[in-house]
């Protein structure tokens, strides 16, 4: 222990750090905390991998004409969409809701950290987790015999716009509801999306009215868009991208207006 006199140690030397340093610190803590939470690993990795294995090994999906290809070619894009949803929406909403109720957002808001850098750090944390998920899921899918098509850039673009839409929705929910309500609602929405998002079975199996409703949701837009590219080798699916961008814009504006920091 160095014996620095307290008068020297605590002598005021205030000032903000350069924002890139704050951004790196925020991104790293978001990433660490996410990976440390058992339930978020379950949500982000174990469930998607389980779905991949289940629907390729147990032949519930066998109508290849309806699926547009083999079961793995159908299920893999859907599971990628689910991975984005689980991290950008469900995980982020729950974590942010509790951060608000624990006063973390208030505490960070009282430091030199600008809110924009905090949100950017959260977003980079989400993207980093998604990269990890996608690496694992793509590896598992390949091992199960997946043959993706299409332009990888189109896939990346869909994933990014999808992330923006789901992040905005997650922050909208976390900023408006109590933490416990967010926990319940975010899990509920995850389930709805799993069933109505065209993830594990085609939307055509749904009754007409339900299918119409499901198609307007961002989940179906992301899953369908990814499938058009990866399964059918289509170019940029502008319709799906446009719908996702609209969700991102509307949810983002509403979230920015309604978000409460404490």
């Amino acid at each position: 222990m160095t014996a620095v006199a307290p008068a020297e140690l605590y002598r005021p030397a205030p000032g903000p750090a350069p924002w890139p340093r704050m951004l790196v610190a925020q991104t790293l803590i978001e990433l660490r905390l996410t990976l440390r939470r058992g339930e978020s690993v379950l949500l982000t990795l174990i469930i998607p991998v389980g779905l991949l294995l289940f629907f390729t090994k147990v032949r519930l999906l066998d109508n290849e004409r309806e699926l547009g290809g083999r079961p793995i070619d159908f299920i893999a894009p859907g599971v990628l969409a689910l991975a984005v949803l689980s991290t950008a929406f469900t995980g982020q909403a729950i974590a942010t809701g509790f951060e608000r109720s624990y006063g973390v957002l208030k505490r960070l808001g009282a430091s030199a950290l600008p809110r924009g850098v905090l949100l950017l750090g959260k977003t980079l944390g989400v993207l980093a987790v998604e990269v990890l998920q996608i690496v694992v899921l793509v590896a598992v899918a390949y091992a199960l015999g997946w043959h993706p098509h299409g332009n990888p850039l189109a896939v990346v673009l869909l994933l990014i716009v999808g992330t923006a839409a789901f992040s905005a929705l997650g922050l909208l929910m976390a900023g408006a509801l109590r933490a416990e309500a967010t926990l319940a609602a975010a899990n509920g929405v995850y389930l709805i999306f799993l069933l109505l998002g065209g993830i594990v079975f085609p939307l055509t199996r749904l009754p007409g009215a339900v299918a119409g409703f499901a198609k307007a949701l961002p989940g179906a837009a992301l899953a369908t868009g990814l499938r058009r590219v990866l399964e059918a080798g289509a170019g940029l699916p502008w319709g799906d991208l446009g719908l996702l961008a609209l969700w991102a814009l509307v949810a983002g504006i509403v979230a920015a207006r309604t978000f409460r920091w404490e």
Binding site: P6, R36, A110
Partner: protein, 308 residues
């Protein structure tokens, strides 16, 4: 005051029908420790949170380091350290990680490990926040307030719920901050804490200013102090009073002598040397000044809360 650290004028804030702060005005000089003292619900936390920029006042003005806490938040926040009354940490983050995170926000932060040592938290450096004891959480929260080397810190109930050792460590750190020239503003409902730590005490009740001054000024015996001792009965009190300032009175009751007036070292010396001159050993000699607690009870007309 041109160089005031905090200036509050005509501050008012209501939550629904509850008037939490009601026309409060005070000034806090730079450097030194100032205690906002008051019973629970007096408006201390609301006042501090307005100064920190968390809340918008209904009326009145607040200047912190000459800046508006809301409008100039961006310039002000890096210069001010904040200790919330509770919470403020990721439950899953480790003690050292929280300090490192806040250190990353400052241009010239303290070394997180050295600060852990000073806060007696080295043992729990790798423990997550949710597993810390109440006292450890409090000390970490204090550490988060000072790690950026701010020129002003707001500490909301820094010793609430601490054990004796934790309280002493916290007092030590506040003393160190004071020595380093940091302006410390703390809230407390513990009299002894205010009396012991503060250069200036601002007493608040029902959102209003009740009194302000140094502990010595507030407890100054406006004739309220007294000296007492026992000796053989029948001493010549007139002779005693000739040697002390005017306004001091003396009474005897069966060998117990009570001298009332402004008790100061000179009066004590005068009384004891008079006793010595008489060849008397004054037994059970007692000096009783008003404590801050007496002042507080008088001013707020209610008993102070007891620190757990």
């Amino acid at each position: 005051m041109a160089d005031a650290a905090v200036e509050v004028a005509g501050l008012a804030k209501a939550y629904g029908s509850v008037q939490a702060v009601d026309g409060l005005s005070f000034e806090i000089a730079r450097a030194g420790v100032t205690a906002l003292l008051g019973p629970n619900g007096a408006g201390k936390t609301t006042t501090v949170e307005i100064c920190e920029g968390f809340r918008r006042p209904d009326a009145g003005t607040v200047r912190v380091l000459g800046l508006d806490p809301l409008r100039d938040s961006r310039d002000l926040r890096p210069r001010v350290g904040v200790m919330l009354q509770a919470g403020g940490c990721y439950p899953g983050a480790r003690t050292l990680e929280m300090l490192q995170l806040l250190a990353a926000h400052a241009a010239h932060p303290l070394d997180p490990r050295e600060l852990l040592e000073r806060l007696s938290l080295t043992q729990v450096a790798r423990t997550t926040y949710r597993r810390l004891s109440g006292g450890e959480k409090q000390r970490l929260s204090l550490g988060l307030a000072v790690i950026g080397r701010p020129e002003l810190v707001f500490l909301d109930e820094p010793t609430a719920g601490l054990d004796v050792q934790g309280r002493r460590d916290t007092w030590q750190l506040i003393g160190d901050l004071r020595e380093a020239g940091v302006t410390v503003v703390l809230t407390t409902h513990a009299m002894d804490e205010a009396e012991r730590l503060a250069d200036q005490v601002i007493i608040i009740d029902h959102g209003r200013l009740v009194a302000a001054g140094t502990p010595a000024q507030l407890t100054a015996s406006d004739g309220a102090g007294q000296l007492s001792f026992r000796a053989r009965p029948g001493l010549d009190l007139d002779d005693l009073l000739r040697g002390v300032p005017a306004g001091v009175t003396a009474t005897e009751s069966a060998g117990t002598y009570v001298i009332r007036g402004a008790v100061d070292p000179a009066l004590l010396a005068a009384v004891t040397s008079w006793c010595a001159a008489q060849g008397i050993l004054a037994q059970d000699l007692r000096v009783q000044q008003r404590s801050l607690e007496d002042v507080f009870v008088e001013l707020t007309a209610g008993p102070p809360a007891v620190t757990p």
